[in-house]
């Protein structure tokens, strides 16, 4: 993409992200959620947009990250089974040092465990293509929620509470806001870098013609596994952060919300334009803003509004915002177009 065009988007979004919690203190949670949505869309696009593998189960890694984080946050200092037993179990109080140590290790491990899980799952599901891959991954996410709901050690259907933040509500809100914003920025910067390396070309080659890519000797399984692991790493981290924001981790609605966040990440990417770096960002901003506005001013009609947006998008505007811009102004995106008669 044209560097000036990119900078024109980078700068205002970065400034907005830094000042938003102070300018709009009443909307901190909504804007923090916006950054999680940006992260969702960016990470879904690694697989669905850049590589052509439409996963409907990426939300699985959100839950994996959420549970991993809380287990590390609690498990370093208390016995998990006793902590969760009888919905609250032992009344354990974490010291400040224990809280922050647990949080840091929990966030890191949420990404690592999610990435490892993706690598292991990849060996089984990458044999699937098209709708079979989509449904297969969706099945994993749904099954995970149901399984966690029966596992007593982690609180089963009652869930598990995260350690209580040792400070004021404002400080907690600000900390998790900037962690969400930082995670989204880190995801964006990482993807911006890797899409410019050989990795970016190889995953695009897999998307456009996997058989040809294999015929050229590309390690397609390796690239697919790494792509999904990168995606899972960041989604896992977002799970850790979101779990700490909600305070209680419940398997179906909070950890593995397949029909809400799991679908949103696809819809946002399609709206912004899949297979582009900025498309998922723009799609997430537009989608989340519309969602919050309808939730606030048109309560009861919010799902209808989102449904209409998705239908318009997939029926009349499949290329999404960035796809439309690239078609309209190819030269702005470094695409050389030659007069037809000169090429024949």
């Amino acid at each position: 993409m044209n560097k000036n065009f990119s900078f024109k988007l980078h700068f205002p979004i970065l400034v907005f992200g830094l000042v938003a919690p102070f300018v709009f203190p009443g909307l901190q949670l909504q804007i923090a959620t916006l950054w999680v949505m940006v992260l969702f869309a960016l990470t879904w696009d690694i697989m669905g947009g850049q590589m052509g593998y439409n996963s409907l189960g990426n939300i699985f890694f959100f839950g994996v990250g959420m549970y991993t984080s809380v287990l590390f946050q609690v498990g370093q200092f208390a016995e998990i089974g006793a902590y969760t037993a009888a919905h609250g179990g032992d009344n354990f109080t974490f010291t400040n040092a224990q809280y922050y140590q647990g949080l840091v290790i929990g966030i890191i491990m949420s990404g690592v465990v999610a990435a490892i899980t993706a690598a292991m799952l990849g060996w089984t599901v990458f044999g699937l293509r098209g709708p079979y891959f989509a449904i297969g991954t969706l099945g994993i996410a749904i099954a995970a929620g149901e399984l966690m709901g029966t596992w007593e050690w982690v609180g089963a259907g009652s869930g598990i509470s995260v350690p209580v933040f040792p400070g004021s509500a404002e400080a907690r809100s600000l900390l998790f806001y900037f962690l969400c914003f930082g995670a989204a920025v880190l995801t964006f910067v990482t993807l911006q870098w890797i899409y410019k390396t050989r990795f970016g070309l190889a995953v695009n080659a897999i998307r456009d013609d996997e058989e040809k890519a294999e015929a050229m000797g590309i390690h397609t399984v390796r690239y697919k596994t790494v792509a999904w692991s990168i995606s899972a790493f960041f989604v896992g981290i977002s799970g850790a952060l979101f779990g700490n924001i909600t305070g209680i981790i419940e398997p179906l609605e909070v950890a593995f919300p397949t029909v809400t966040f799991g679908i949103f990440m696809v819809a946002m990417t399609l709206l912004g334009g899949k297979g582009t770096l900025w498309g998922p960002v723009l799609g997430a901003i537009l989608f989340h803003t519309l969602k919050e506005v309808t939730w606030t001013y048109f309560l009861g009609w919010q799902w209808v509004a989102l449904g209409v947006l998705i239908i318009i998008n997939v029926v009349y505007f499949q290329q999404g915002i960035m796809g439309w811009l690239i078609e309209r102004f190819p030269e702005k995106f470094g695409i050389v177009v030659e007069e037809k008669e000169a090429t024949r």
Binding site: L201, A202, K212, A215, M216, G217, I335
Partner: protein, 249 residues
């Protein structure tokens, strides 16, 4: 003594009740151009697909430089230096010519960290430009490859294969659909790839003028079985080949 890079022995392949290849044996000598001809439906492309790993064979053995490869997957075989092009041109039409070439770098010695390596380093770009110049596409290097003419797309696919530095290249009807004025240029480049880059070529071709002029040794298939093998002169004068195939040309 002749070294054979590809050795196919008693290979059979069926799709349900249809026998595509039956008891095929052939040898492709190192550093030469070998042809494979036969009427439509004679099993030529199936044999190519079996050699490069697309179809698991039912029976027989396929060796590349002495190593059994019939159980290997497509990318594993490609990384050993045995590459193919397709009957219908397969390029990345949404990418420009340079990007198509960059995808085609050799992957055989690529380490894990190389996945995130710089894709347009000076050495690679020099090679890309040299090969695009070799096939006459240098001026169109930044064009979206889907906007190239069919003949130019064939040349790009050939350049992509060369970029991969194969030891053996299987070409499936390289001149099919190409404007006659471009065919001579393509033949010249195939010969130069063989002579200057030392690439062994194994070519399926329906254009008899092309294959008879280019190949040093030709195999002829009919109805999934080996009909004949010999020099171009021997093949042209073989009565069974004339009856089954050449008579129609």
């Amino acid at each position: 003594m002749t070294n054979y890079v590809i050795e196919v022995e008693d290979v059979s392949k069926s799709f349900g009740g249809v026998v595509a290849n039956h008891g095929i044996s052939l040898k492709v000598p190192d550093g030469m151009i070998t042809g494979l001809i036969g009427p439509n439906g004679s099993g030529k492309t199936t044999l190519f697909n079996s050699i490069v790993g697309y179809h698991p064979i039912d029976e027989g053995s396929i060796k590349f430089k002495g190593e059994e490869i019939s159980k290997l997957r497509v990318p594993q075989i490609a990384r050993r230096g045995l590459l193919r092009t397709f009957q219908q041109t397969r390029i990345y039409s949404n990418m420009n010519c340079i990007e198509n070439m960059l995808i085609s770098i050799p992957h055989r010695r690529m380490k894990f960290a190389d996945m995130f390596g710089e894709r347009e380093d000076r050495e690679t770009m020099e090679e890309v430009e040299r090969l695009l110049d070799f096939v006459g596409l240098y001026e169109k290097r930044r064009l979206r490859s889907g906007d190239l003419s069919f003949g130019q797309q064939k040349l790009l696919e050939f350049a992509m294969a060369l970029m991969n530095k194969p030891e053996v290249l299987l070409l499936d009807e390289p001149t099919a659909g190409i404007n006659p004025t471009l065919i001579n240029g393509l033949i010249d480049r195939l010969r130069r790839a063989n002579e200057e880059f030392g690439i062994t070529l194994f070519v399926i071709e329906h254009n008899m003028r092309v294959i008879m002029n280019m190949a040093e040794s030709i195999y002829c298939l009919a109805h999934g079985e080996m009909l004949a093998h010999g020099s171009p002169d021997e093949i042209q004068n073989d009565q069974s080949v004339i009856d089954a195939y050449l008579g129609a040309h």
